[in-house]
Subunit: 523 residues, 2 copies
């Protein structure tokens, strides 16, 4: 049983071991009833951690290739024991799909599944904020006048009229573009998946914010990319470090959420935006700008334990009423200019969606990019899902017409800005010493650092027990666990539940602090 | 400039040439301003068609790597000519996306882009057959009663009510299944893409019908699978050869369109279906059953130069009115039982869609499979597009309710069966000697073999010039070009254009036959 493991491979050691043993078993090189070495012994022989061998054996057991008998050891199963009528799923699934780390998803689900708790965890809107009447009206209007025969097949890039409307919408937001540069997507996440397929080779390096949207991490890792986290602070990605990261890692892509970042709520100021785009261009590295929250901009607040970057207002007057996406003269802070609005060469690929501002059910997002990107992605999509549902596209056209969506988002910003304030007030009132948090200027999330020594994941159980739930920072961390932060969605709960929710949460944290100090003084 | 092309590779010769030249240019082996050999000369040197070299040069020009100067020849561009401020796209695109063979798509587009010609080429419905009123009614009905707040997010697998309706629909079609075994897709093609991602590792073998739906070939090849074509005849895949193919190639997947196959129109009889499923199970190989046309079953015809498999009717009486998908006691030939209805172990993954029976614009299809498959694909989709558009799902629920879709398909079968008969009659009347064709019992396509010596791709230009268009068999061929067959979509044109279209086509073929014999007698 000579086995050679390659420490420099991107394939984890335990999977290399699984593959080697599986091949030996399936080929018959290891006969039925062959007794495998004990885990510890094999680990020593291969010079690996015992956990690696343990994990490999467990995988092979789940495939029915080996079995352990208590007190006797681990044996190769006879092939007739293996052959049931069911397909051998574990052997049939692709390596690619095996790279999807299910446990992260399970952890997210667990945080969200607490039906009676006050929900600061889930990353979507409160269903009550979905504009039911607006959607019903625009949908019926869209279908009353629809000509299904001429809309039977949308171009892959989307209906020209919708692309026009989106190009106008983006131009008003500071990204001058033509309809040709816009592609309609089935959600912004699809855009991410398509970019990965269009650009990422196994082993390519992708830079991301050190804590980020975890499906993005998943998308890059599933493509066997090397994902490197760039440190962040309250002004988002540390672009002063970016040149060094580019020099060292030669990234092909930088993935960033520059505005109201998920999970940190941070917004990159103009200077950092410039630095990011210039660095990317210098290293011929593409930038994927994910911007699901950019339009949800609330009025200025000066409070907060950690001072936010500070907005520079443009157009006179403070940012008072949120961004009017469809208004003709938007008053928006210059700081919020999308990266895509700062270059024309084609390095930035911009993604956005209606999921955070209208409803995720539409599954409609869009991409703004160079024509090379659009053409390549269209060629891929032709073999995948052709185009975004015509019915969703017809509804979105109505939504974008006559300033409807602008008025809706304006209303939403008032409600959400108020909830943000409620949460900040409650945090100031109830947070125990040693806790720090950001002052988000928009978006969904407040990012809080726990008092020293507390672990977010462990706290979650107590919090759920107390009746409140949040997302532990670990979920978003690239490299190592970030157990010191928690993400609180302040738009999700009903307004009147925010103060009691924060009170419960902070009470739980305070108890944990006392428990920890009590525990440590006992030692 | 030593270049070696591999005639046995699945990569087209022109792309091999592009890759070799690109590498030489980028590496500097071919210096700036190097004069490339004229197309004819290089073609002779390599022993390939001149068109191959032409296509390769064109591709390199579009990449900015070479340029032609009239009267002087073709030269390698200096690298500073290539370096603008634009990103170096050709270097940035992934190998995966480079594997998408654009020229095939261009060929398909070319066949379809003949606005004034009678269209037997395009693989979709006649827009006039899209049920405009039905779609408007069900859409408005769906949205009048829709509760957008509770339907803001569909489960990944689809709304439970739609999965129920689809499970009923499938059970009536001979596939007993629960809602749990059904997943709503954004088109059947997405199901194919997801299956590739869930199951195919680079180098895995996939068996397909020797001529097949070309996006499927594309999906498998993009995943670097080894795609092997199993011979077909007028009864579909030669399942008698399948054991040998499985023994030799150890396929992970068999992809098949058993009913009204695209492009051959062939339908596998029950015996072959059994043989396929049994062989797959014996070799622990999954089967993807693509069934977009299965419900479009027309009345029996005995005519045709090549005799079709011959249907065994079930339930008494001939197959007279098409399949009533939603009727309670469908009269359907036993031959049409989907493969998925013939096994319970989980080996068959069934895909279908509303694109061919209602409209492709809905982008809604479905998958019936073992719970392991559903779970794995849901985990992937969670990171891709979450779920199929809620609005499309709501519309499909209404379509499937109250037997609406059954009545619509029944009507469609009458129209399409009539068009099939018109085409068969016209073929019998006008086809020149030496031409053979199938008698499709359903679906969209008639598959015809040209008289000896004619090449479909070459004929296409003449036919378009004459005012009629078709899809050359080359488009669908796995291994080698199939230049002897053409695919005719008989449902696409208006009924009154079928006879004149066939007349024009057969006239063109007859002329080509004469031209060929004249040409050969001249030699």
């Amino acid at each position: 049983m000579p086995i050679t493991l390659n420490r420099h491979s991107s394939i984890p050691l335990y999977r290399q071991l699984v593959n080697a043993l599986r091949e030996d078993i399936v080929s018959g090189a290891l006969a039925a009833n062959y007794k495998l070495p004990p885990e510890r012994e094999l680990a020593e022989r291969l010079g690996v951690n015992r956990a690696t061998v343990l994990q490999a054996y467990q995988q092979l057991k789940s495939e029915g290739l080996i079995a352990s008998h208590v007190g006797r050891g681990t044996f190769v199963c006879a092939s007739d024991e293996r052959q049931g009528t069911a397909p051998p799923w574990q052997i049939l699934f692709s390596d690619y799909s095996n790279r999807f780390t299910y446990h992260d998803i399970a952890a997210a689900d667990q945080a969200q599944q607490a039906p009676d708790a006050i929900d600061f965890a889930t990353g979507s809107q409160n269903p009550a904020d979905i504009p039911d009447d607006l959607l019903r009206n625009v949908s019926i209007r869209a279908f009353e006048s629809a000509d299904f025969q001429s809309t039977q097949e949308s171009p892959i890039e989307g209906f020209p009229q919708l692309r026009e409307l989106l190009a106008d919408h983006m131009t008003q937001r500071g990204v001058r573009c033509d309809a040709d540069n816009v592609m309609v997507l089935s959600g912004a996440e699809q855009g991410l998946d398509l970019c990965v397929r269009a650009f990422v080779n196994p082993g390519d390096c992708v830079l991301v914010e050190q804590s980020t949207f975890f499906p993005a991490l998943q998308a890059f890792r599933s493509a066997d990319a090397r994902v490197i986290g760039v440190p962040i602070d309250e002004q988002g990605m540390r672009t002063d470090l970016l040149d060094g990261y580019c020099k060292r890692f030669h990234p092909k892509l930088i993935f960033t959420i520059p505005t109201f970042q998920n999970p940190s709520g941070a917004t990159m100021p103009l200077r950092r935006r410039r630095e990011l785009v210039e660095t990317a261009m210098r290293y011929q590295c593409l930038v994927i700008e994910d911007d699901p929250y950019g339009e949800l901009c609330y009025s200025k607040r000066s409070a907060g334990t950690i001072g936010a970057g500070g907005f520079m207002d443009v157009g006179g007057g403070g940012v008072t009423g949120g961004i009017a996406g469809a208004s003709s003269s938007p008053r928006r802070p210059r700081e919020l200019t999308p990266l895509k609005g700062m270059e024309n060469a084609g390095y930035v690929i911009y993604l956005s969606t209606f999921s955070k501002t209208v409803t995720p059910g539409l599954r409609t997002g869009w991409l703004v990019a160079d024509s090379h990107v659009i053409a390549r992605i269209a060629a891929l999509r032709r073999m995948i899902d052709q185009h975004t549902s015509s019915s969703s596209q017809l509804i979105c056209m109505e939504l974008l017409s006559n300033g409807r969506i602008g008025r809706h988002i304006e209303r939403l910003c008032e409600i959400y800005g108020h909830r943000r304030d409620l949460m900040l007030d409650a945090m100031r009132r109830y947070a125990p010493d040693g806790m720090h948090w950001s002052t988000p200027m928009g978006g969904y999330y407040l990012w809080a650092r726990l008092p020293d020594g507390l672990r977010a994941a462990r706290l979650l159980d107590d919090a759920r027990h107390a009746g409140v739930t949040f997302m532990p920072g670990d979920m978003f961390a690239v490299d190592e666990d970030d157990s010191s932060h928690i993400r609180l969605n302040f738009v999700r709960p009903d307004s009147q539940l925010i103060e009691p929710g924060v009170k419960l949460l902070c009470g739980t944290i305070a108890e944990a602090v006392q428990g920890a100090s009590g525990h440590s003084s006992e030692r």
